[in-house]
Amino acid sequence: MALHDVQSSPGTDNRWRHVRRLLERAGPLGGPEFEPDPELFSAIRSDLVQILVVGAGGLGCEMLKDLALSGFVNLHLIDMDTIDLSNLNRQFLFRPKDIGRPKAVVAAEFVERRVSGCRVTPHFGKLEDKPLEFYRQFMCIVCGLDSVQARRRLNQIVCSLVQFDESDQPIPTSVIPLIDGGTQGFQGHCRVVRAHATPCLECTADLYSSTQQGFPLCTLAHTPRLPEHCIEFARIMQWPQEWPFGEEVPVDGDDPHHVDWIRTEACKRARQFGIREPDFRLTQGVVKHIIPAVASTNAVISAQCVTEVFKAITGCYPLLNNFANFSDIEGVAVNVVPLERNPQCDVCGQPPPKPLTFNSRDSLQTVINQLKSEHGMTRPSLTACVEGRDVTLYMDLSFLRDQLADNLDKSLAELGLLSNTVLNVTDSAQSGMKPVTFVLNLEDGMET
């Protein structure tokens, strides 16, 4: 039995006195703008503060539990998987009777039962199944995912929620802090993402190394050396030739019979080449790309992330800046690194396109005039994507000026420009300047 019941005793919130100390008492090491206030505690304990946990695996479930025990009462959990046999090692949460049920639903039920007063709303599905507005309701999002793709998707969602003011600064209330945790065996990380202030997950996409073992096909086919080569040969080449469990029936790494078939074939091949024969565990590990996992690392990383969630929401202490590594193979090592944003980042590197409002009958010259007068350009050059092709509208360079001069008097409609067309503008007077993107907003015009 893992999670000790936290019963509320009538009339007292004594179990939360630890949290209240942090929120109702001032301290010199607190956040720069932190003001202790009993209202803070009430806020945490109210529906106003909504937190989303992404992923209901070992790490996600741990985060859910830690959030509940930190006093938060309005939690959401999203996960796209159902429980199967191989998940039952997390016995404290998933039982045999839960097989087939969505992980998010079972985890939610469990935590609600154990921590009275806490409400957990499960969402069974993918991140993309939810509209953008769904994510806007959360004050903080914390994720315990094991896939790079899911992280990147979540990152894009969080970054696209950011709105900007007139001077292109992100509006603080639209920036939802994203706390990202990951574990692998005895190592893990915890990082804090505040879009446009810190690097987003895409800025440092290369940090998340893939654990896929890609062996060259010629090695598998002609010169295997390792038991792993024999396993992969059986999985990739022999299986689709023999379809041992039925035509077109794919390998299911969780089906022990499938794994055992692969192992048997791998052993035959191994014997042929004098290679050590693989056992079941190795075979399944290779077939499923299993990442070893242990409760202690999940506990550490989850706790670290939840501490940051608490800080993000209450402001009681400064946030982690901004990436922490953890390893307890030899001794115990924690290392904090302030990662830097990538100015070329596809997701958060570009400033958002600024809107330009015109009438479709206005001439290109009008647009250029506005670029000069209101956007600080001296000799703007414009390109746009028209009907799927990149078109140069005007170039203010001596040898091209005359060729495109005709365009200046044409109306935007004549040039085929519609609302939502993105214009890329550079200024020839500022060498080395990156193109600035604008988006056309035609009051009377058709849209792309």
């Binding site: 039995m1 893992a2 999670l3 006195r17 630890h18 949290v19 100390r21 942090l22 008492r25 001032a26 301290g27 010199p28 090491l29 830690d66 025990l69 930190s70 090692n89 016995q91 065996g185 005895f186 010629c218 002609h222 010169t223 050396r225 022990p256 055992d260 080449f273 004098g274 290679i275 056992d279 079941f280 565990r281 399944q284 590990g285 299993i290 990442i291 070893p292 996992a293 242990v294 409760a295 202690s296 690392t297 506990a299 550490v300 990383i301 706790a303 670290q304 939840v306 501490t307 608490f310 400064p318 922490a324 307890d328 193979i329 030899e330 001794g331 115990v332 090592a333 924690v334 904090v336």
Partner: protein, 562 residues
């Protein structure tokens, strides 16, 4: 339960029986499925050790329960938790423990712990591991004195709000499998295996077609050019960077530079980059040398005792050495005779055709097996010599030991009594460093002890009150802190040389603010770390952290106190 005097033996001696994962059909057992992911980290034998361990947890607080929960998740099921009696888990000394009930918390628990320590010390020494969370200093002194000499490892921790300290206390802990991240391969190129030499000599690189040439394992390539260099240099082995680079250049000259069907010659590139690690001169690792010295000292003492002319009652009862000591003694003997450690026997993966890689693996494995046979023979002699049976150590344990020979080490700490009273020079240094750099883990540690003294005098922790005026405690806390620092510095000749002994106001204030709060996520973090340290101690795998450490959840740092 067998009452050996050495707990290390307990958990390691049943490696042979009923491995967790195997069944006749090769399909995994339900237990193996359940623990699959962690079995990949510490193996069946590690899992077995975890399941057979008997762990005592003292401390019904957040850190304690979180540590317990994590260890249970790993399969540890033989727990006694001193504060939660009456649960099915309390299998040992039930009579005594039934006196305590679930209402035991805080002060009351600590009183009873006191009583228990007096009344039945044997209860405590029967465990494989003791974890003491939030236990007061005076009780820890008694507890540690009891456990230290009996080699029961103890983990001590305290939490105050966003901060927590921890310390391992173990007289001797043997690490069987350190699992280093990037171990150097054991190739023996300085003194190559005869079979390996014969194998390489039979390869004629210049006569190979491009397929064979580009699939020659780098180990063979490296050896050939190394030999060439050695011949041209009076047989010496490359001893510095320049000389290794020269070998690399030679290899480079052997590249054919043509791409064939199968891509360019990656094996030749591998050979060149392997120069940096494969040509390092072999020397005895210091951790192993330490073990040799220990073993020799132990044997010397035994010899002196048995030679002693004192009457037999005065002679210390001959304590049979633990298995690791027997093995280390044997290892020292092996090294003396052979000039090297037993061969590890594994090779890194490398581009190669199947037959040659497999042939190389077999060569190294056979040599390792031969070393193991020789080692086992020496071990039998060592055992018989000392009056133990020839097969005192199970074969699987001998094999494990030899395989990990280069990474073996003994981890040890001082007793809690010594650790919690740092040397005056250490204190002075820490105070000085702090004076320049600002508050440090050392100050927090000092304050934690001051809080303990505060608690002893006032029956509660500073700031642990519903009174709005919680800061009033800061004055007393400051006094306690000053007294403690002066206590610790007492024997220093010039106490004035030390930095300020007055705690920074900020830290005093913050501690009072916490009032010993158990912030859940901070406790959960520490619980995660401690559960893994506990597993390291139980399994003898991975290297435990031996320094006094402080976790600061504000800065997310985990730093040594001294």
């Amino acid at each position: 339960m067998s009452s050996t005097n050495n707990n290390n033996n307990n958990n390691k001696s049943n490696i042979n029986s009923h491995p967790v994962g195997r069944s006749r059909s090769q399909l995994p057992t339900p237990k193996a499925k359940k623990y699959d992911r962690q079995l990949r980290l510490w193996g069946d034998h590690g899992q077995q050790a975890i399941e057979q361990a008997r762990v005592l947890l003292i401390g019904a607080n957040a850190v304690g329960t979180e540590t317990l929960k994590n260890m249970e998740d790993c399969g540890s099921n033989f727990f006694v938790e001193l504060a939660r009696i009456g649960e099915p888990r309390a299998k040992v000394c039930a009579e005594l423990l039934r006196e305590l009930n679930e209402d035991v918390i805080g002060d009351f628990l600590e009183d009873r712990l006191d009583v228990l320590l007096q009344r039945d010390p044997g209860f405590f020494t029967g465990f494989s591991l003791v974890i003491a969370s939030g236990v007061r200093h005076s009780d820890l002194l008694v507890l540690s004195d009891l456990l230290y000499d009996r080699d029961v490892p103890l983990i001590v921790c305290q939490q105050h709000g966003m901060l927590a300290t921890c310390q391992l206390v173990a007289r001797e802990h043997f690490v069987w499998e350190a699992h280093p991240d990037n171990p150097l391969p054991d190739l023996r190129l300085e003194n190559p295996l005869p079979e390996f030499v014969a194998f390489c000599d039979a390869q004629d690189l210049s006569a190979m077609d491009s397929q064979r040439h580009s699939h020659t394992p780098w180990l063979v390539i490296l050896y050939k050019f190394l030999s060439k260099w050695r011949q041209a240099n009076a047989g010496k082995f490359p001893s510095n960077y320049a000389e290794r680079q020269a070998v690399r250049q030679l290899i480079r000259s052997g590249e054919r530079g043509e791409s064939d069907l199968h891509g360019d010659e990656e094996n030749w590139r591998q050979a060149q980059s392997a120069v940096t690690t494969a040509l390092l001169p072999s020397k005895l690792p210091s951790n192993v040398n330490e073990l040799f010295k220990l073993a020799d000292q132990f044997w010397l003492r035994r010899q002196q005792l048995s030679d002693s002319s004192a009457p037999s009652e005065d002679r210390q009862a001959a304590v049979p050495p633990s298995n690791w000591l027997l093995l280390c003694r044997t290892l020292a003997e092996f090294y003396r005779q052979r000039g090297c450690l037993p061969l590890c026997g594994t090779l890194p993966d490398m581009v190669s055709d199947s037959d040659r890689y497999v042939a190389l693996l077999n060569i190294y494995r056979r040599a390792a097996d031969a070393d193991l046979v020789e080692f086992s023979r020496l071990l039998r002699v060592v055992c018989l010599d000392i009056g133990l049976s020839a097969d005192s150590v199970p074969a699987s344990q001998i094999a494990l030991f030899c395989k990990n020979a280069r990474h073996l080490r003994l981890v040890k700490t001082a007793s809690y009594r010594e650790l919690s009273r740092p040397l005056p020079q250490t204190v002075a240094r820490c105070l000085e460093e702090t004076a320049e750099a600002g508050p440090s883990p050392f100050w927090w540690y000092l304050l934690f002890h001051a809080c303990d003294r505060f608690h002893t005098e006032f029956g509660r922790f500073p700031g642990d009150t519903d009174d709005v005026n919680f800061l009033a405690d800061a004055g007393q806390l400051k006094l306690k802190c000053q007294q403690l620092a002066q206590d610790w510095l007492a024997s220093l000749a010039t106490t004035s040389a030390a930095g300020p002994t007055s705690a920074p106001e900020d830290l005093l204030h913050e501690l009072c603010r916490f009032g010993r709060a158990e912030v859940h996520s901070v406790a959960a973090w520490m619980g995660g770390v401690l559960s893994q340290e506990g597993i390291k101690l139980i399994t003898g795998q991975f290297v435990p952290e031996t320094r006094t450490m402080l976790y600061d959840a504000v800065s997310q740092t985990f730093l040594p106190v001294f």
